[in-house]
Every structure is written in C-alpha cells, then in structure tokens.
Amino acid sequence: MLKPLKSKVEEKYQELYETVGSVIDKWGNSRDNLIAILLNVQSKSSRNFVSKEAMLVVSEIMGISAQEVYEVATFYHAIATEPRGRFLVQLCQGTSCTVNKAVNVKDALEAEIGIKIGSTTPDGMFTFEYTPCFGACDVSPAMRLNGKVVGNLTQEKIKQIIIECREVAENE
C-alpha cells in the first residue's frame, strides 16, 4: 500500500486507514476498481455506508481527488453516504411488483418495523426504503434484505422475517 509521507489523514483516522488500506490492497490500487472498493468499504461499515472520513482515506491512498471519490460515491444508489440501519429493507417499486400489489407489502412492513418508508428506526436497527427493480420480478412482490432477495412476500412472511432480524440483532 502506497502511503503519502506524514499523512495527516492517517494520523487522524488510524483504524479506518488500516481497514480501507486492506480493501484497496485486495482490489488493487487502480481507478477502475474505485466502485468495487467503495462497495467493499461500505460492507465493512456496521451502518451500511461510506463515511466522509472513509472517502477521504480512499482519496488519499488512491490518489484520486476527494471530489471525484465523492462524485462516484453519491452517483450510485448502491453506495450510501449517510448511515443506514443494521438491516436494510429495500422494497421494489418496479412495474411487476406494482401489479402484484407491493403497496400492501409496504403497509405491512411499515406496521411491522414501526416506521414510514424512507426512514431509519431511531435505534439504528432498520432502514426501510423503496428501490428500483432488481430483476427478481418472477417472485414479485419482492424486497432485498441487506442485499439478499426475498420474494413472494406475504404479510405472514414479512412478520416472520422482521422477527428473525430482531432475534439476530439480540444475539449479537
């Protein structure tokens, strides 16, 4: 890993520097790996996002201006620059899911998680948002839970899934 001499960023965010550095080492320090690196850095954050500090570190190690890193990070929907919940619940708003009444699923999820779509629970446990079609239309209505597809959603299934999430969190 290439480090600038006497880096202020490294001094300030030592731990982050290590983590991000190892991600960059894994992918290789080249511009075309920037998106993969940001996704990977995000997956290591407990709140599912890439912080400003992390972007600074990426910028310094990769030698890409901070503005450019920020531009890329904010352009792509799969990369978040604000903290998200421990569980990211993304309900599809695509056409297939719409005709199969994703709106009922939305109501059920709001009731179960206890927040309106588009927000995060105060305890940081869940973020619930709409997402465009992710190609699971054959099992619509569908959602992604931390990136994993869950399809053929029913009220019963939703209840079960949210209970399981809470159990997982409790055992952590």
Binding site: I35, A36, Y76, A78, G94, P132, C137
Partner: protein, 417 residues
C-alpha cells in the same frame, strides 16, 4: 405441445454452470474452436445470415457492429459484455449468466477473435450490483476458461490474446447505456458520453470497443457451431429465438425461450399459465420500463420484430409484464415515473426536469387535484423528453406513457379534472 424451445437455453438445468468439463462435454467451446479456424469475415456472414440483432433492446445488427470492429485498426481493443439489465420486468440475462456462464464467455472470445486486436485484448463483463450473487459464478467460469487456455495468450494457437474480468455495477440503470457503462467500468460516475466518437472507435480506456448484450454473445457460439437449428425457428424476417421474461399477474412467471412469431396471447396463456387472478387481462407492457403498453385487444400480435412493429411496439429487452383489471393505469404511471426520476443521471435538462415534473403530475393525479392544464403539460413534457433528451433513457421513456394515453385515454383523462 410446449411452445417454448431450447437452443440458447439448452444448458439450463442440465449442465452444471460451475463446471467447464460439463460444458465442454455438451459441445461447449466447439464454436470457438471452429471460429479460430475460419476467417473473421466468414463468421460475420454467419451472423448476418441469421440477421442477429442486438438483444439488449436496441436491435442493431450484430454483423454490422462486428464488421466495424474488424475494420478499425488497433493492436489492442476492448470487448465488453453488457450485463446491466435494469429494465423493470427484465431478468432474462440473469438466467443466462446463472445457467450458461461459459456460453457468454465463449461468445465474447469469438467476438474478440473477429473484432479484437493482435495483442492483449481487454474484456470486461459489467454485471449489475443487484446480481452480485452471480459475480463469483462468472469469475469462477473465467478462471476455468483461463486454465484450459481459452483465455490468456495465443488462444487455441490463433494468436489471439485476451484477459477478462468481471466488473460490478453499483445500482444505476443509466449504466446500461453503452457509453455510461464504459464510464462506470473505468471507475467513474456513469453519465453517458457525448458521441461521436463512437465506442467502436474510442471506447473502453479509449480503445476501439466491441460491446454486446449477454444474450447476443450467448447466441454466437451456437450459430458458429451449426446455425441450422437456430435458423429453423422464427419468421422469415425475425429469424431464430428470443429469451423473454414474463412476470406480473401470471401463474408461471419466469424466463422462457420462444421462437419468434408466436403471439403475446400464447406467451401469457400457454407458456406463463394464464392469469393468477379471476380478473380479465388489462394490458401487457413489452420490452421493459421504456416499452409500450399493449392493451388486451392487441394480444394476438405475434412477437417478432415486424409483427410488433405493426402496432408500433419494439421487442426491446424481451420483458413482458402482465396486468389485470385490478391494476390501475395510475399505479402503473406512478411506478414508471418514480423509476425514471430515480434513474435519470441528471446530465441533461429535458430528462432531469421532465422527470421531476412527471412525478409531480402523477402525485397530483393521485391526490385528485390534477387539472386539464396538467394533462396538457404532461403531453408537452413527454414530447420534449422524446425529442431532446441526451441519451436513450430520456428518449425512450415517453413510450409507455404515450401508448397508455392512446389506449386508455378515458381512464387517464378521468384522473384530470
């Protein structure tokens, strides 16, 4: 009798997609072996004979594209596979990557043989983030192909050199647009480039680049090996088969391979098992989010380039979303408007602002406060987007809205006071 066929999908569920040996045992890489013994022009002739058209949606002649690639002189070239399908309702490339990864790779290598340079050609498969569970499958397939000498230096003694990588998208529909796809592959924000220069001259890393869709590449090895079966299907103006994805209110949603020329009705009722409700079919949307809305009265139309063109519809990505009488046009508009507003890259005004206004008008319709002046605005915005957007996203987006207004005029006007 089953109305589906299996030429491109021949390996589905019968060949282990993680094993190159199984792929080879069923004739895999025979197409490539034959290809490297032929002159590139001969291969292009085969594609031309089947009139293969780009299967991502644009339907541009593959033979023409490859001829161009062959003619551009350069020692190193780019070879790209667009696996970023993001049209709502479309998931046929997912099935091809999942069940026939080696077929995609083989098609790309033949592409490089025909249109590549003499030195280390750079091949990239750009797969959307939403399919991240398939990235490793593709990487594994590439590794096995390298081990067998189908990738790397001097492939099968042909003098062709090629290295191949998987690149992940990060959730941006516009990256399916070819120049945006390249920007993204290079690690930048995926905004479409100004053209010219065209990508076949200045593409990936400024190299001349051959870019095709997953399905187009998958068909190539089959045609090169022996195109007789493929050519026995279809109509005389739409030769062969098409991978389609059917979803919505049907009993058996899924990915199917159909011969060109069967009707929408046959797909909905005979292949996808009919409607999953006791309501009547209301409309289908063909070709993805930017595809046209086809009312129930037109479902006897054959699915072929010429058949659909007669009712002003394009084959597009091959998606068919089915809606019944319980689905309102308003809900459908809402889904479309939000999708495009979310996905517009913001580079040009007609699309960026047009989408913002579309969402507002749909919201007014929902709240019952839309007026006839809003209807006029809606029509005006759609016209401008179609005529003056910078890239295909904004240009094609009006199609479903305009066709819906045409076929469901009363219902839609009913949402405006």
């Amino acid at each position: 009798m089953s109305k589906t066929v299996s030429v491109i999908s021949k390996n589905f569920y019968s060949v282990n997609p993680d094993s190159i040996d199984e792929y080879i045992a069923t004739g895999g890489f025979e197409g490539l072996k034959k290809a490297v013994s032929m002159k590139p022009e001969k291969i292009i002739n085969i594609l031309d004979r089947s009139d293969l058209q780009g299967r991502g949606g644009a339907a541009f002649s593959v033979a023409k594209k490859w001829t161009h690639a062959l003619r551009v002189p350069a020692p190193v070239k780019g070879v790209m596979c667009n696996a970023d399908e993001g049209e709502p309702g479309t998931f046929k490339d997912r099935a091809l990557l999942e069940h026939n990864p080696f077929g995609v790779i083989e098609g790309m290598i033949i592409g490089a043989y025909v249109g590549g340079g003499s030195q280390m050609n750079r091949a990239r498969i750009y797969i959307r983030e939403e399919y991240s569970y398939l990235h490793d499958r593709m990487r594994n397939a590439i590794r096995q192909a390298e081990e067998r000498g189908f990738l790397g230096k001097n492939i099968l003694g042909s003098g062709l050199n090629m290295e191949m990588n998987v690149v992940s998208g990060a959730g941006a529909y516009v990256c399916g647009e070819s120049s945006a796809l390249l920007e993204s592959t290079e690690g930048k924000a995926g905004r479409p480039r100004i053209k010219p220069p065209r990508l076949n001259n200045v593409g990936l890393y400024n190299l001349p680049t051959l870019l095709n869709n997953v399905e187009s590449y998958s068909i190539v090895p089959i045609l090169v090996r022996d195109d007789s079966e493929y050519r026995s299907y279809g109509t005389h103006r739409s030769i062969g088969t098409k991978m389609i994805s059917v979803s919505g209110k049907v009993n058996k949603p899924g990915v199917y391979e159909i011969p060109f020329g069967i009707t929408i009705k046959e797909v909905v009722y005979d292949i996808a098992g009919g409607l999953n409700s006791d309501r009547l079919l209301k409309f289908v949307q063909i070709g993805g989010a930017s595809g046209a809305i086809v009312p129930a009265s037109q479902i006897d139309t054959p699915i072929s380039y010429e058949g659909l063109a007669e009712i002003g519809v394009a084959v597009g990505s091959g998606a068919i979303v089915v809606a019944d009488e319980s689905n309102s046009m308003l809900d459908y508009f809402e889904s479309l408007a939000h999708f495009f507003a979310h996905e517009s890259c913001g580079k040009c005004t007609p699309c960026r602002e047009g989408n913002r206004q579309l969402v507002r008008i749909v919201e007014l319709m929902k709240s019952g406060n839309a007026t006839s002046a809003d209807f006029k605005r809606l029509s005006g915005i759609l016209k401008h987007m179609k005529g003056s957007s910078f890239c295909g996203l904004g240009k094609t987006e009006p199609a479903p809205f305009l066709s819906a207004i045409k076929h469901f005029e009363d219902e839609i006007k009913g949402y405006f006071k």
